[in-house]
Symmetry: C2
DNA sequence: TGACAATGGGCAGATATCTTCCTATTCTTT
DNA sequence: AAAGAATAGGAAGATATCTGCCCATTGTCA
């Protein structure tokens, strides 16, 4: 894929944001890669997530774009629970805006977006 | 495999002890599973280590038998280095004795072992 | 319009440990 | 000698994150 057209979200990125929102609705303030992977697979968007590398790359991309922010889990907690550390993410305001914009960009041509740009 | 004949070491267990000794000679006081796996593979005992599960089961078995003891790496250190925690093992006195005995059992029939039982 | 360059996807593997399930073997007991 | 019990091995996968490589695509610039 080429240089990204400004303001555009890729399918997998939309998927991540949607899954994150879904998880938030269910009470999870933060999410981590593995969690999102499961969520996406369950929602049958499986085609978008064949490899884990793809997901983590997307997360990092979005973090660099300012759509997400991340914080590492307390290593002691992870150790206590006997599993690898998690890296938690949350959607920034910019991320939420982009989600709406992203949908618009997918659904209708830009010329019809006037008045729909909520938030 | 059946109930273990008392005092016998399985091939993979001998391999682990040997690799551990080798690593110690090279300056590593402690070893961990992954390290041993690499060492064994390099020493071309590869047939003994097809699956990782096998190795970790063997380590746990040996720990329960008192041949090894283990301590977990400081989670903060692992976090700092950005990798999963390691579980370190070291050979106990019983483990070293068993190694010698194990060799004898493999190499010569029990009736010839008299006088060779060093340590 | 054509070529370049950047980017993203997929595959594979590194790092590290552990569990579950099935199968095969053999040790021991009757 | 036959049968039963326990154990070890192998395959696979769960848990979690990240990197490198190659290839395809396409936006952009000349």
């Amino acid at each position: 894929m080429p240089r990204r057209k400004a303001g555009t979200l890729l399918p997998i990125e939309l998927s991540i944001l949607n899954a994150a929102i879904e998880l938030r609705v269910r009470g999870a303030r933060l999410f981590h890669g593995f969690m999102i992977a499961k969520e996406i697979k369950e929602r049958e968007d499986a085609k978008l997530l064949t490899s884990h590398g793809t997901l983590y790359k997307a997360l990092d991309r979005m973090r660099k774009l300012g759509l997400l922010e991340s914080e590492w889990e307390d290593p002691l907690l992870a150790a206590q629970e006997g599993r690898p550390r998690r890296r938690f993410y949350y959607i920034t305001a910019a991320g939420e805006a982009a989600l709406v914009q992203g949908y618009m960009a997918q659904a209708v041509p830009a010329t019809q977006q006037r008045g729909l740009a909520a938030q």
